[in-house]
Symmetry: C2
């Protein structure tokens, strides 16, 4: 199969391959998904209606031997935010998709009922009935799929949350052990997929021809520099912070900085934080029989992942990311990793984004549905979702909806999407990203935390509002590129601190597309992506007024610094100027 776009429509029973339009040929990931969504999805359509489409696309270098590049993008009009959405994930699925020559998969149409499985191999693509795989948890479903189609297949799916068309239904992918633990979680893309009548995409990569590298010499030259940079940087190197403790190393760091939100963004630090720290978790993984470090996809140097399990290696969850531990832990007043692990497993099993789910539970706690710290109560709420009760349906739709249903004032969302694990009042750059990105509150859309907290790429006082618009803008542009490239965002630690590593990354892109590609071209691509997305959102009715944090974060000081978020509206509005 030559490189192409696979378009599927269950309503019409159609599967077709299309040539890649010229303007997409040298792009990948987010640049491809956002371009197709902007071109084909009416900005004013209902996200669950007949005119929305789900688009998947691997990054430019995904499927090659470039390090830490097993990433891909999923895009659509988001049921959660009402705007354009790109949700990024690391999974072998991305690599297999690229190796099968698939530039993109476009899923469209709105069949009346029933669910299909789309099976794609080097030979063909076909719809199979998925009814036996519906209404069961994804861990079990993934086992059944591997039993039927082989251990090596890769899987993308919508879970029970997707079947409910819930705004917090993520897209779930397999980790290298076949667990349903890697997520393009944010923005409800699982509901978009399920409302197209599709529950699973199964990729069989046997005999795949692989990704063509047009200038191998340039690619290898760049790769060498990039590998060197990643292996030398303190954050990304083997045995460094990320491989030793995972992303969860940030719990202690953020708590010490006063920016770890506890109990629905009521405090920025708490003595209990260390109970759920990365250091504590690494110890417990050894004790319980899990795996640490681990990768989300083959060929990663950084190895931030892990397999969290119950005692004796039972009920493996997959990774417990920092943002997940925070959301389901401190943000709910829960400081017990075992309970957090169970909550995370429930999210993975039901097809829910952990960040949104944790905020949802915290808002439910604030609204009186249960007490802060009530881990068992939180687990019961997950059962409500599993049973598809009215309460469960409400909870599966995220913090904003629960906040409205319970009449809660303190709802930490932007554009309807929950704020992740860094309080905007104590880390004002990331707050600026939350406010202004087209994605709704999203840390990966402009990860200023690298500079503000980890002093990567320079220094910026997290409490000083004055330089944050510029800082966030630059990180947002870089994210626009990174999410298109196929590289993991964490490469940024190494590339920002070392120009040669950055240059190496550019050269790997150039090698794949077969023409010179510079660091300036990265910026150009990032800007292009942001412009496409901004235009879509504007046409969908978004204005500068949507680029604001919740009122309470401007009015209520956060201990211990007792700061409010005070980057001015004017600064925020500058971000989208050229």
């Amino acid at each position: 199969m030559a490189e192409g776009i696979l378009r599927v429509n269950i309503e019409k029973g159609e599967i077709s391959y299309e040539d890649v339009p010229e303007d997409l040929q040298k792009l990948g990931g987010r640049a491809v998904t956002s371009s197709i969504v902007a071109d084909e999805v009416p900005s004013n359509c209902h996200p669950l209606g007949p005119n929305n489409k789900l688009v998947l696309a691997p990054g430019i270098v995904t499927g090659t031997s470039a390090p830490s590049s097993g990433r891909m993008s999923a895009g659509a009009k988001s049921p959660l935010t009402g705007g354009i959405k790109e949700s990024n994930v690391g999974s072998r699925f991305a690599q297999t998709m690229a190796k099968l020559g698939l530039k993109a998969i476009i899923v469209e149409g709105m069949p009346e009922d029933g669910y299909k499985l789309l099976h794609i191999s080097q030979e063909d693509a076909k719809f199979l009935d998925a009814s036996k795989l519906s209404n069961i948890g994804l861990y079990e479903a993934y086992e059944k799929i591997h039993d039927e189609f082989g251990d090596k297949v890769d899987i993308c799916s919508a879970g029970i949350a997707g079947e409910m068309k819930a705004s917090n239904a993520g897209l779930c992918f397999n980790d290298i052990d076949g667990l349903s633990s890697r997520y393009a979680g944010r923005g409800g893309l699982g509901a978009v997929m399920a409302s197209r009548g599709l529950k699973f995409i199964v990729l069989d990569g046997k005999g795949a021809s692989g990704v063509e590298i047009k200038d191998k010499e340039m690619f290898e030259r760049g790769k060498k520099k990039l590998v060197k940079g990643l292996k030398e940087h303190d954050v990304t190197k083997p045995g460094g912070a990320l491989s030793s403790f995972g992303t969860n190393v940030l719990i202690n760091i953020l708590d010490e900085s006063g920016g770890l939100p506890h109990r629905n963004f009521s405090a920025g630090s708490d003595e209990n934080a260390e109970k759920v720290s990365g250091e504590k978790k690494a110890d417990m993984i050894k004790e319980l029989g899990g795996v640490r470090p681990h990768v989300c996809s083959p060929g990663c140097i950084i190895q931030c992942s892990e397999v969290w399990t119950k005692k004796g290696g039972k009920d493996p969850v997959g990774v417990l990311e920092y943002e997940s531990v925070w959301a389901l832990g401190p943000n709910c007043g829960i400081y017990d990793l075992k309970i957090i692990g169970e909550l995370n497993r429930a999210c993975n099993d039901l097809g829910l984004d952990t960040i949104e789910m944790g905020n949802t539970i915290a808002v439910a706690m604030e609204g009186g549905m249960l007490e802060f710290g009530d881990g068992k109560g939180a687990l019961k709420l997950m059962d409500e979702i599993r049973k598809k009760t009215h309460t469960g349906r409400l909870l599966a739709n995220g913090a904003d909806l629960v906040g409205k249903a319970l009449g809660v004032y303190r709802v930490p969302t932007v554009k309807g999407q929950s704020i992740p694990a860094y309080d905007p009042r104590a880390v004002k750059g990331i707050g600026t990203t939350y406010a202004t990105t087209t994605m709704g509150a999203d840390h990966t859309a402009g990860y200023t935390v690298a500079t503000e907290i980890l002093s990567v790429g320079g220094e910026s006082d997290p409490l000083d509002p004055s330089d944050k618009a510029e800082l966030s803008k630059n990180f947002q542009i870089h994210a626009g590129f990174i999410d298109s490239s196929g590289y993991c965002l964490f490469t940024t630690f190494a590339t920002l601190d070392d120009p040669e590593t950055m240059e190496g990354m550019a050269e790997t892109i150039g090698g794949v597309i077969g023409e010179e590609f510079t660091v300036e071209d990265m910026e150009k691509m990032g800007k292009q992506v942001l412009a496409i997305e901004r235009k879509f959102n504007k046409e969908a009715g978004f204005t500068d007024k949507d680029d604001r944090l919740p009122e309470f974060m401007r009015e209520e000081p956060l201990p211990p610094h007792n700061e409010v978020y005070d980057v001015s509206d004017e600064e925020l509005d500058m971000i989208h100027e050229d």
Copy 2:
């Protein structure tokens, strides 16, 4: 007490009288509430947060002997739409408020918990504890209030729905028998009042000095013309359509026109409609022992109201309006007036807007929570609200939220507010009002039905999209004036068809304010009100993209005419041009 503005703040325990600013002195109703909200409420505030305010204001002629003028406005930033809201109601409360010299009541502040009753008399205003009157139905609460404060007091309240801070919590007022049946229902103003810590306002009008009429001769001259016009027009005259059958006379008329939405806007007519018609209802009221005709407030010539009861005059509900009967009836596939009466009584008792509630139940039916036509199931849902269960909290927040929770595509809302009883595909002028008014879908904001269906003020084919922008615009301007004047919207039937009646109305306004006031001045006032509201919404982030009907109404033809809504976006956007 001289004419003034009463400002109350339970959080601070403050009650104060202020002079009326010059720019408000010659205004009333909606012109006053929208001006104060625009001046004092930040457009970007959270509707349930500390910065929102509830404003009440009687119309200009309210409290005088002008006919059919017992109307007032309630305003705030709406929890349902996120925009500015004016909700209009006819109740003796309005007249008493005017006679007590109150140009406006402004309720502000956000106390932590507990509820107060604000008691206002000619002598003073004071907060009383309202805890015993909380968490009980409003029919019972109104009885208790009358027992304590006398039969003659007037009451404004938030119900159990308001206590839940629900977006569909209306503001409830008394009818002339003291029943909790007159509503400024739309937009969640009950939640705004309750979140200010206020459950009840009780007015004791004893000894009130009355409304000053600055030019009595002009007033009497105008009043004579107006009374004559109202008494002669077929729609408004005693024994005419409205006094004989109430607003519900429209059921048969709309069903025959193909514009009565059945089963969540799936069909525009159905043979079952006549079972819930105005004619049928008038017969049943006689049979059951209710009252027909009746008035919402003293001094009304039109007398469209009634008292619906169970057999033997038991459990009096108050009026069953056309839009309520439609919402809780045909729109839910329910064609049994007794069940509709029970549902309406539950809404009145809990403090819910009937239009929003009916649409909510219909969307819940579409989403599989219960079957269309299941009246007993619908009554059980009302019990969920009464018990404040999670399901009840969800339902009390309106159709939009329920649609999101259940993943429903066909949700008939604009700006988050439910579309009332006239399908936009078969009555395109009213569809144009729904789309473009700042209020969210609201028939009273520009009642083109008068011309399209009743041939008042000319003729306009309801299926022809070409003249609807102009028609709606003119009706919206007139509504801006009428809602400020204190006159009932139904006066429009008579004034539109007879220039002398219209002139008489203008003269009554001139008489009260003591200067010449012409028909052109009406238009000027209407435009001024719309401009204030439009500006607020724009600052709150609304754009032309919010002035659109739901996607399904542009895509799905409505039987029997099989028309879609096809007024162009360009026409819609013209409405707010000068």
